[in-house]
Assembly symmetry: C2
Homo-oligomer: 548 residues x 2
């Protein structure tokens, strides 16, 4: 996982100070052999020994009683029971006869709309053995999640969407295990953090009601599944834990993110911002947490904008523009000629165009300026970042006023959401001491640039931290710290979730935020607006579209 951009700095005191308390363990037990004075049953004997180690109450899968007792006998009462924390009790997953359980492994999965990220963890040592990210195999069903929900309504559609996810899991986990010389049957735990829709797809639950008012999930929290229930090709009785969601727009990925950033045990007021098609925001400290999510439009992830793309090789992710010559300098992920521009590149571009006076505070391109890069295209004025001979596809890489308008709506939505949530609890943005920015976006974005365009509030730069894949991080942390199960359960019920109600008041606020940096420059004292940026009329305001 790339952790460039802003420094990775997630507190993990919770699990570190207490040592490992993995979700699944397999302690070696030398059970007293039965005799006439101690003739308790085989499984009760095992249960008793585990209870003496605090592993109680123990729950047996009724279909395996005979098999488990057989293994106790096979090991001649020297066994390693494989036990996993399951809610307020323990599940007996298996019994390994003899003094060593072999490997005790777990997988964490960040089940994202675009990508699936897998982490293979050794639960005995706490070591991460391998990780891999693959494209979400549902993409052929629809790039955005709304079209996948529509596909799920077709006959066998939901099954197909689930099956391709599970197949991808089985292929990737098998590859990682094989590379590490490990066996699938030694994987006893699987944790999954995804947004609400992805969690529904993963579990084969109908997402139809997620995308129509009043946006109702099938379930907000899920029982522990066993691998065989879902067709996961690991130990058939491996525990599968899917992070709960708070609502249709607030998924387990964000709960895992809160856990990863330790928001729930910080004294300072902190904020977690997950930027995507929807902006998901959590604000709070160890005493309270409030969350809000709203459509921000896909612009920040590099979607919609004509030459926009994901932060991937070939994408421009950093740009500076010389205010005199109006010539750009840029960086291409992976080097070589650029293919497109990703979210952070777009933010840099708009911020630099604004600072260079190419863009007005209304987001219009100042066509009065003399530069071969400022051109009039069929759909309006544009700025050419790279000429045809400098790009990978031999076509001009231009960003139009229309593209910029889309970005401005996204950034306005983001700023408005941050404002709404702080106002809801009667604090000011200045009271927020840490803002964690999650996602690939968070690793690439330059907060100084985001402040210049008025997307992020004008706070000291060290307030901001990019924290990468917090969903995957949280899911992996839970594998090694079962006490987080309880934390998550409390979080789920503790978080006050505000449904963003797009009304007149909000639209007024949003309108002001579509300007560069804002209609009220007092909100951005650090941004020095260039003289020539004060220009033509504003864009048409319309809140950007999101998805569940």
């Amino acid at each position: 996982m790339k952790k460039d951009g802003i420094q990775w700095e997630i507190p993990r005191e919770a699990s570190r100070s207490r040592g490992l308390r993995p979700l699944v363990e397999a302690p070696f037990l030398r059970l007293p052999r039965p005799n006439l004075d101690d003739n308790t049953a085989d499984l009760d004997r095992l249960e008793r020994a585990l209870a003496q180690r605090g592993i109680t109450p123990l729950r047996f899968d009724p279909r395996t009683l005979g098999e488990m007792a057989g293994k106790v006998r096979e090991g001649d009462f020297e066994v390693c029971p494989v036990v996993g924390r399951e809610g307020d009790g323990w599940a007996l997953i298996d019994v390994v006869p003899g003094a060593s359980p072999g490997d005790v492994l777990g997988f964490a999965l960040d089940c994202g709309t675009s990508r699936l990220a897998f982490y293979l963890v050794d639960l005995a040592s706490g070591k991460r053995l391998a990780e891999r990210s693959v494209p979400n195999p549902q993409i052929p069903f629809g790039e955005d999640i709304l079209s996948r929900i529509v596909k799920a309504r077709r006959r066998d559609g939901l099954e197909a969407l689930q099956r391709c996810l599970i197949n991808a899991c089985n292929e990737t986990t098998a590859a990682l295990l094989s590379e590490q010389g490990r066996s699938p049957s030694d994987v006893y735990a699987f944790t999954v953090a995804g947004n609400t829709t992805m969690s529904h797809f993963f579990l084969g639950l109908d997402p139809a009601n997620l995308c129509r008012e009043p946006y109702i999930p099938v379930a907000n929290h899920f029982p522990f599944y066993r691998a065989a229930d879902l067709g996961l090709a690991i130990h058939p009785r491996a525990l599968v834990y899917v992070f709960p969601n708070v609502g249709a727009y607030f998924g387990g990925d964000l709960i895992a993110g809160i856990v990863a950033c330790g928001l729930h045990h910080r004294e300072d007021l902190s904020m977690l911002v997950d930027v995507g098609t929807n902006a998901e925001v959590v604000l709070g400290n160890r005493d309270w947490l409030i969350a809000c999510a709203g459509a921000a439009g896909p612009a920040l992830e590099g979607g919609v904008v004509e030459r926009g793309m994901m932060a991937a090789p070939g994408a421009i992710d950093w740009i500076r523009i010389d205010p005199g010559s109006l010539e750009p300098t840029y960086r291409v992920i992976g080097g070589g000629k650029p293919v497109g521009i990703c979210g952070s590149g777009l933010i840099d571009l708009v911020a630099e165009m604004f600072m260079a006076g190419i863009l007005t505070i209304q987001g219009k391109i100042n066509t009065q300026l003399r530069s071969p890069r400022i051109v009039e295209l069929p759909d309006g004025p544009a700025y050419i970042v790279a000429f045809a001979d400098e790009t990978a596809d031999g076509m001009d890489l231009a960003v139009s006023e229309v593209d910029i308008g889309i970005l401005l709506k996204s950034k306005a939505a983001m700023y408005t959401i941050l404002n709404v949530i702080t106002r809801k609890v009667g604090v000011s943005l200045q009271d927020v001491k840490h803002i964690f920015i999650a996602g690939t976006f968070g690793n690439h974005i330059d907060p100084a640039m985001a402040i210049r365009i008025g997307m992020l509030p004008d706070l000291p730069l060290d307030t901001y931290q990019g924290v990468g894949n917090t969903a995957g991080e949280g899911a992996a942390m839970l594998l090694l710290d079962r006490e987080l199960l309880e934390v998550v359960e409390k979080l789920r019920t503790r978080i006050t979730y505000i449904e963003l109600n797009v009304n007149m008041e909000l639209m007024n606020e949003f309108r002001g935020a579509t300007f560069l940096p804002h209609t009220d420059p007092r909100l951005f004292p650090s941004v020095k607006i260039p003289e020539r940026a004060l220009g033509r009329g504003a864009l048409r305001e319309e809140w950007p579209r999101g998805g569940p």
Copy 2:
């Protein structure tokens, strides 16, 4: 169930005073419809409404989340969730859309070595709809349980023994339901009380270690099964509860019996005696319970003895002998000519032969007496109860000295066990205020006769109560009173179980008890020993055989 003989008088204040608290119920819920201000998930909405009725925590079968939420929608949020108490929580068994759940039924099974007794109960009204008893289909594998355990060791033997039990369950429950015009899918609960070996067979658990020292069950308590786990043809997710056992020789049938007699909440010192091949005895009150089991031999159930039979049509179950003429008067179950003699008949016979001076205190037949009924057969002296022309098979119905010797060993074992258990806790038999005698035997036995032969202690006759099928009774009670789950769990761990150690001391005690009524007549002050009963030498003492 026949309740002749001694009056049926089981206290049921527990469930009566509290009203019905059935194991499974299906309350009608009108859930608030979701809206933007109350947009919790479908299943969380159901869970919340159940929690408001105290039904919490709710456990979902992970494989049915989608189906359950679908039914909530199908009922347009007006539903009857079918919930069953499962340990310290509740299982969501099903959701019935609409305002009525239909029937909510349960079966209780007394899973005996010889017979299976089924009770069909309406869990909503508490009414017993039907009951039926069928022979245990395992009998062709072996009349006694030990030979079945041996059969289970063969390839697929255990599966075959389990399968025939389950098949018998499916046939009998289907017949009862069909006669009552009810549907198998409306049966949501199934409770089973059996001895430890039968519970193992029912669940497909290997009983091999039950019959060899140190006599270890696979498990002493069992998780809740679902009907589909066992192939029971009722609702596939119906809860199946198998009463726990305390050890190889102390099964769930006896725990159910304790519950049925209310031994655990009586102030007075009481005793439950279950008479079969093994005599199982529980002594105690609401503060403590001690249990003991020991082989008593099959004589008391009508086995072994040549003309012995179960208490069934054709069996002589009551006999009186005129001390002058030495002529008998008897009663045949169901009327007509006799086929054999059952346990209670045998006890009457021996008691009457003793009182008439036909039997000596050593259990020998006084061949000096002049009577056409006292004869010398190839295997020794005998008493002819019915001549060939009076019997159903046209053969003399004779009981020999050998037969009587077998019965005397059984009765001596029984008396010794009762003595051992009272001595263990430092009380005397005179302190015991109630003695409940379970089983068919208990319904037929005349305690006055049992005292005369020295099988039961010489206590006031109203101390004794025949209580019939307490195992089935307890299993049926649990269907209607889920609080008994906790009672049973406490009982299981509270009962002190004494393994009967057949040593020299015990053998001395046993030897004295093989006499009529005992070598120490002071123990039986109410028994007037006739002069002519003081006769020849004693029988060879050897503790009778039992089975696990």
